[in-house]
Symmetry: C2
Subunit: 257 residues, 2 copies
């Protein structure tokens, strides 16, 4: 807690234009002038901690949240108390877009580790976007990206066996860490095995078994939550993603009834 002040001051100073995430987050492709306007409506909160709730299902939408560091999970919860995790959100991602339609959050968002977020009042953002075509465009792009990644998850949940789900999960994380300038090869899981199994629609035991199997097969090394990817190609094969070489030869179109 002694360095809380230090972090807060640092946070408040760090604006979008100097943020390392500007190419992933809202500011992408926005002119310096417009960027300044955007910065004015964004507030940088001091870090939230593991287990802290950003917003809860049922709460009215007031702000969107951009993850700056750390990791946030979002999940929907049914009447009978079952949860389905809808995403693990890494730096540069925007949360709360699914709340726009009813002005109410359908998901709960919880920090998986110490995480810092930017808070963006949605009505102000929308107002600004209506004068700022590039911002509007970027918002459309972000929502579209979300739609596409949802489709990928549907495919995983609907069609893939347990080993493919786990492999795809690891590769997806690896890739996203890589995009953010971290190692694609070695990274930490901020979510528990239970979270992973929930997200992938599997039992915890199944996830654990797949981790073990991949490890004995020499594809990864997993020590507690530290993952080291050893054989990307093999994992891609399992995940149902052909390697670039194979892709060429496997390609075929017009094969639907």
């Amino acid at each position: 807690m002694s360095n809380n002040n230090v972090m807060r001051i640092q946070d408040l100073k760090q604006a979008c234009k100097s943020c390392s995430l500007r190419d992933l987050c809202l500011p992408l492709g926005i002119s310096p002038n417009d960027l300044e306007l955007l910065e004015n409506i964004i507030s940088r909160k001091r870090p939230v901690h593991r287990g802290d709730v950003l917003y809860q299902a049922g709460h009215p939408l007031s702000c969107l949240f951009a993850v700056r560091a750390g990791c946030i999970k979002t999940f929907i919860i049914t009447d009978d108390g079952e949860e389905q995790i809808t995403g693990f959100h890494l730096p540069g991602e925007l949360l709360g877009l699914d709340a726009i339609i009813h002005d109410v959050h359908p998901c709960t968002a919880v920090a998986l580790e110490t995480t810092s977020v930017c808070e963006i009042p949605f009505d102000q953002l929308e107002e600004l976007a209506s004068h700022t075509p590039s911002l509007q465009h970027q918002l459309f792009r972000i929502m579209s990206r979300e739609l596409q990644s949802d489709e990928q998850l549907m495919l995983l949940l609907g069609k893939r066996a347990s080993d493919a789900r786990v492999a795809a999960f690891l590769l997806n994380l690896s890739d996203r860490f890589g995009q953010r300038g971290f190692s694609r090869r070695e990274f930490n899981l901020s979510m528990s095995r239970i979270d992973i199994s929930n997200y992938l629609g599997l039992a915890v035991e199944t996830v654990s078994r797949m981790f073990s199997r991949f490890q004995t097969d020499g594809l990864v090394e997993i020590d507690r939550r530290l993952v080291t990817i050893l054989d990307v190609d093999a994992l891609q094969e399992i995940a149902g993603i052909r390697t670039p070489n194979d892709q060429q030869s496997m390609r075929q179109s017009d094969t639907h009834s």
Copy 2:
């Protein structure tokens, strides 16, 4: 084919302001002036037929499509040829939003029956939206709605047993038909059992068995593709959606670890 011309003329006359779908589709909440501008960029195509492709995965994004009558399925297709249907789209829904991020359609869209659509050039729509806050807002709402319905499907695919998936599917269709002014009780499935099974992540045989079971249990009557819902409450129970009465007593919050 003899009434093709008749339909075409009728189509071209029918503008957004007189369209029965204006409360579901883009025009919602848009002023008459703005509506006229919107109408100018929308073209009404004559009907497409069963099996016709609206757009194919990999094609560049040029237009969004609004369904006016009929039904369109969208699906992603993996390198190894597996398909996952991502949605069945009824009148008033907008297709192609997932293509914005990369200017390329990730999905293929195919008509399940004779279907008429409005074609909306995306760049013009975006341009218009940047001058028309109400249109921008409506676009955000539509994308947000899509995100939410994706989350529902994830829950279904990740957590629910086969009977719950099929029950939820029937109730969802029933509800959407109801919203469009059709009967909630009796409707036609425009998709095959294979499509349903693909969408729900099940085998065809399982879907068929569930239909049979629901029928012998007196919950529905299914004759070929004509569905009659007989016991909504029981279906909701199976789908994991409590009836309004139960909901009250079952409610509980703050039950996450």
